[in-house]
């Protein structure tokens, strides 16, 4: 038996796509850049070559119509996986996403399913700026009929991509650009469970930390620092934000009685707000102290190098809060980022 393999998040997506395209001959994969030399940061590598340009193809800059076209294919049982190199571009397709994709199954009383997966890539850093770095999961998650997933590691990226594609409902698959190069173990095979279960990444009795996508990288750093300082956290990686694994969160908070939620959406109406309101409403009594949100400020993301410094929330904010509530001096110097703050790692270069 081969050992567990280690691959990057981008490679995991590529594997998930290839697996799905092989499995379902009617599955289509399109989007700007899907068939070009850079192949969407390597995620669609060699797919057009292998599956031909009828199933895997580049599209005109027509985000709205192409989403409707995806829906048309999907209701005739050609599932579609469509890619946006930046989440921001999907705003052009909001009519199709909200008025059609999300509603067709319900509205026609179950007579059509809409198996589309929209891959939305969230930009960050290197001057992506106000219109190329939005993390708008809240907009999608508010809409009944959509599912929204946000994987945080290669294994989940592959597993959840396959789940999303096989799910008969429209799924918004949000992938953070800064995860693409992260490496991780990958399971040999997946029992393709349904979307909606969170992962408990670390266990502890002192505090519950909930996060998703790239914020889980930050949460993991924080949780490890805390552990080395004698504070033990339950770290829940949501995986799916809609449906939300309320049970996992409620159960953990019942135990820890403290809650921090990380989300890189704008603070007002963030997933973090929603989770805090759920916990408050459903089990008010389990909370010992007021819960904490760690979210993006209610500002667009600026472009300039200095301006993005300290703009994004991260592990430091978790530590600071814990320092406070546990009244403890926590050392974490060795974990802080010594490189440029606007790239995920030193090899990462702009411009995109």
């Amino acid at each position: 038996m081969p050992k567990k393999r280690i691959i990057t998040f981008a490679e995991a997506i590529n594997e998930g796509l290839r697996f799905s395209l092989l499995k379902n001959k009617n599955l289509l994969c399109f989007g700007l850049g899907v068939g070009d030399p850079k192949e969407v940061f390597g995620t669609t590598k060699n797919l057009q070559k292998q599956f031909g340009n009828q199933r895997v193809f580049d599209i005109p800059t027509s985000e709205n119509a192409m989403t409707g076209i995806a829906i048309g294919c999907a209701i005739n049982r050609c599932p579609v996986i469509m890619t946006h190199q930046r989440l921001d571009f999907s705003l052009l397709a909001f009519d199709q996403i909200v008025n059609n994709a999300a509603k067709i199954f319900y509205m026609f009383n179950g007579q059509f399913t809409v198996p589309i997966t929209l891959r939305l890539i969230v930009g960050k850093g290197w001057g992506q700026g106000p219109t190329h770095a939005q993390s708008l999961q809240s907009l999608f998650a508010h809409i009944p009929g959509l599912k929204v997933v946000m994987p945080s590691n290669p294994n989940d990226a592959k597993k959840m991509l396959i789940q999303s594609i096989e799910d008969p409902n429209p799924v918004i698959y949000i992938e953070h650009r800064w995860l693409h190069d992260q490496k991780g173990h990958i399971e040999k095979s997946f029992n393709s469970k349904k979307i909606g279960k969170a992962n408990l990444l670390m266990k502890g009795n002192d505090i519950t930390i909930v996060s998703n996508s790239f914020m889980t990288t930050e949460a993991l750093i924080a949780a490890k620092i805390l552990r080395s300082n004698g504070i033990y956290a339950d770290l829940i990686d949501l995986c799916s934000i809609k449906p939300l694994d309320e049970k996992a969160i409620l159960k953990s908070v019942k135990k820890t009685r403290r809650l921090i939620v990380l989300d890189d959406g704008h603070d007002f109406l963030s997933i973090a707000s929603e989770i805090i309101s759920i916990v408050t409403i459903k089990q008010f009594d389990t909370l010992k102290i007021s819960p904490k949100k760690i979210t993006m400020p209610n500002f667009p993301v600026p472009t300039g190098y200095s301006l993005t410094k300290n703009f994004y929330p991260g592990h430091k904010d978790v530590i600071k809060y814990c320092q406070n509530i546990f009244d403890k001096n926590i050392k974490y110097d060795n974990f802080s980022n010594k490189n440029f703050h606007d790239v995920p790692h030193i090899r990462f270069k702009g411009p995109f």
Partner: protein
Amino acid sequence: MIITGLFHKMKKISKKDELDLYYSILRIRRIEEKIAKEYINWKIRCPVHLSIGQEAIGAPLKKLFKSYKDEVVSGHRAHSHYLGKGGDLKKFVCELYGKKNGSSGGKAGSMHLTDKKSGFILSSAIVGNSIPIGVGLAYSKRIKKEKGIVLIFFGDAAVETGVFFESLNFAILKKLQVIFICENNFYSVYSNMKYRQPQNRKISEMVKGIGIKTIKSNGNDPIKVFETYCKAKDYVKRFKKPIFLEFETFRHYEHCGFLKDDHLNYRKKSEIDYWLKNDCLRKLHTKVNKKKLIFFEKKINKEIETAFNIAKKSNFPRNSENKKKLYA
């Protein structure tokens, strides 16, 4: 007509087909009139956009695009396309009444019709937004090697939506077997084309410039409409390319609702008179003899009465249904 010579010689329409065509038009007309008549009882509690005046465009669908593999999508004014394609009448009326046995169990109403069995896939209440869905259906047919053509219906206002152009571009690019059909009744709600599109706009000519064959025809002349569809079908199958049809026509009733609204004076009297004189049913009496006509009316009337009676008597869905079937 803009294109000639491109098509196979067409046979003249047979007498039988002509009778069927008039039957189909008359049937749609009477159903729509019945809706208008019943509406005042306030039991049909959803917006309706009646097709009265425009029936000739929906009427021939079942005859010419018989297979359920020939698929139709449409917009808010979809009754005539639904009925013309052979959509189930009872389910339709029940849907208007919000009943359990409506085509979508009452969840969708007049603006969101469907009857897959007949090939009427769906209609949508948002102007323009079913156009790409039709194009997607056509693309999926290629992938699955399915037979059939997709017909996409929309009004003159849809030509102002960006998604129309985006969809057209893709259909032409990929040479999809789609018939785009614009029912140009010159108005969007109360707004004449001149307030919305450039002076002297000829929709079909404009669209032709985008790179697709177009035919413009009189949408109120049943025979011309029929022949235009024949040509279009032939073109699409032979050249494996999409085509665009513009049918000029006129709506008799208000935009949305069951009344006439000519007292509002948004359309000129001469305009109204012209179109009423050219109603698609004006030649009914010369084309269908009296006996036949009485037979037609009776048959239609019976079908309608049955459908409406069923609809009225049918049960409402339980209101707990409103929280079912959100996810598959």
